[in-house]
Amino acid sequence: MIGEAPSKIRAHEAAEHDFIERALRAVGLTESDANDVANVLVAADLRGVESHGIARLDTFYVRRIEAGVVNARPSYTALCDGPTQFALDAGNGLGHPAGIYAMRKAIEKARESGLAFATVRNSNHYGIAAYYAMMALEHGLIGLSMTNSTHLAVPTFGRQKTQGTNPIAVAIPANGHAPYVLDMATTGVTFGRLEVSERKGKALKPGWAVDAEGRETLDPTTAMTKGALLPLGGYGTDNGGHKGYGLGALVEILCGVLSGGMFGTALRLDERGLHGGSVGHFFGAFRIEALRDADAFQRDLARELADFERSAPAPGAERVLTAGEPERENTERYRREGVPIDPKVWDGIDAMAERLGIAKLERFTVG
C-alpha cells in the first residue's frame, strides 16, 4: 500500500490483462508465459499494490527483454525433482512464469506427500509474492512464497546494502472468512514509498531509511540516491531492527544460497538497471490434513480471524483488520470500478505501446 488516493484514470481488468499480454508477446514471450505475467501484474494492481503491477511492465520486464539481459524464451532445468522437493534453474527468464511453474510443482507434490518446497534460481523479478502463496488456496493448502531482490537495504548498524526488500508471503485458507494472506517486505517500507514521499515533498518517517554513512535520514532524495532502506524495526536494535534484518537475511539464504543462485555482493545491482538472472525464489505448500482435519482447521481459523476483527480499535481507529483484508477489499472494488493507474504510469505505458507498435491500453475516468 502506497498511501495515496487511487488514480481516477482506470482500466478494465480484462483490458489491462490483454494489454500486458500483447506487450510481452511483442517482445517474444510465448502466449502461456505472457498470460502468467499478466495474471500476476493485474493481481497486484487489483490488490492496490500499484508499485508491483503494470507500473513495472516496461522498466523491469519489457526493456530487460529488449536489451537481451532477460530471456524471452528461457529453457528450464530441473536441478532436483523428488517427492517433497523441486529445484529449478529458470534459464534467466521472467520470474512470473518460473514462479508459477515451481509453485505448481510444490502444490502437486504437497497433495501427494503432505508438504513440499521448491527453489528457483537464475530467475528475475516475479511481482507480488502473495500471488504464488495464494495459488495454494484453491487446493485447500497453505502456501509460502519468498524472493530475494536487488540490494536496497543495510543490515543493522551497517551502511552497505546487503539485502533487498526480500518479501515473505503466506496464504492460509479459511472457511467462512476470506483467507489469511500475509505479504510483507522485510524492510520497514519499500523503495516505492520513498518515491511517493519525494513526489509529495514529504519528509520520511524515522526508521525508514539511512544516508550514505548509514545515519538515519528523513530526506527522500538523499535516501534514494545515496542511501538505503532500513530493515523492518528501523535503525539499530531498540525497535527490533535486527529482527527485520534477520528476516531479510533468511530470505536471502533460502532464495539465493539454498537455490544455488546469486547472493551477497553479487546482488548489489541498480534497482532500475538492465540486468538479469540474478534473482532466486523459495516456495512451499502444505496440506492441512497432514496435521489436522482441514474442515475443523478452516472453521477455527475463520473464528480466529473474526476474533481479531471484532476486537476493540484504538482511539481514532475505525477497526482492526487481518492480513490480506485491505487487499481483498481493493480487489473487489477495482474489479467493479476499474483498475486505478497513476497518470505517470499511463504516460510510460502509452510510450511503450508506441515503441512496440501495439494498441494502447484503453482508459476511462471515474468521478
Partner: protein, 358 residues
Amino acid sequence: MRVHDYALAAFVERALTTVGVDAAQAHIVGDVLVAADRRGIESHGVARLRWFYVDRIRTGRIVANPHYDVVRETPASLLLDAGNGLGHPASHHAMQRAIEKARENGVAFAAVRNSNHYGIAGYYAMMALPHDMIGICTTDSAHFAVPTFGRDKMQGTNPFAFAIPAGEEPAFVLDFATTTVTYGKLEVYERKGLRLKPGWAVDADGTPTDDPAVRHSGSLLPLGGFGTDNGGHKGYGMGALAEILTGVLAGGWFGTMLSTGESDTSPSGITSHFFGAIRIDALRDLAEFKRDIDHELRAFKASAPVPGHDRIYVAGEIEHENEIAFRRDGIPLIGPVIDDLDALADELGIGRVRRIAG
C-alpha cells in the same frame, strides 16, 4: 556471581525430579533453560524455573509426568497432544520426530498442543543443525500484544526461530519475538526508572505510551510499532501467523481463549507449538551449500558498519559468542535470581547451585 553451565543444569534436574518429573524429562528442561542462560537470554533461563515450572507442577497446574498422545501421524508430519506436561520435553520429542521424518522424507512438520511454556524457540530449531537440516519453530503464548490499531490483547510475543547450518561459520540462528520488545524488557525499564521507547507499548486504551508502569494495565506493540507507518502491521501479521500455525493448526487454544495474561491463576495446557525440519541435501548439494552460506555470512560481516559501531553481526552470532564465553567462564547470574534459586533449593530440600569460587 557465576555458575558452571553443567552445575546449573544439574540443579534444574534436581529441582524438577524432586517435584516428581521423570529424570529424562527433567534433564531436557535443564538443557533448554541452561542453553538460554548460556546464550545470554536471561529472561528465558533459570530465572523462570520456579514461577513458570516448579510452582505450576507443585500446584498441579502442569502435569509432572504427562501421557503423550499422537493425534495424527503421516510420513511427513506429526501432531502430538502433550497431556498438559512441561513444554520442553514435549517439544524436544516433537522436533526429534520431525528430524527423523525429514531424514526419510526430505521435509517434515510437527505440531504440539495441550503443552506449556517451552523456553527459547531457538533451542528446538537448533536441534536440526547437527543433522544438516534447517530447523523451524514457533509457539503461541498468553496474550500480551494488541493488533495494529487495536486495544485488546490478541496475541502473545509469539516467537519464530530459524536455524540454518553453515560450514566453518557458526550457524545462522534467528530467534525473535514478533513483538517489538518482550514483557521482560518493560519490567527491566520499570525497575531502572527509564521511559519506554516509542513503538514498544500502549496503554489500556490502545494509545502509545512511554510509561513503563503501563505493563500492569497496557499491552505490547507488534514488531514495527504503533499503526502501519513503520510496519507494525507486519509484526502483527507474523504474530497472528504464529498463532494460526500453533493453536489453530494443532487444534489447541487460540484467540480469545488465550487472552489471559500470565498469572498464577491463568490456565495451563493452553500452549501450542509448531516445528519443521528441512534436509538441505533434499534441495542442493550439502558441501556446495555450506561453502556458499559461509560466503554469504562473511559478506554480511565484512560489510561496513556505521560510525560508532565496529562490526556487523549476523543472526545468532552474539548468542554464539556468549555460549563460548559462558561455557568457559561460567554463566553470570544476577543476585535476585541466585537468591530465588537458593530459596527454592532450601524449600525443596536439595543442594543449592554450586558457585564458581572467586
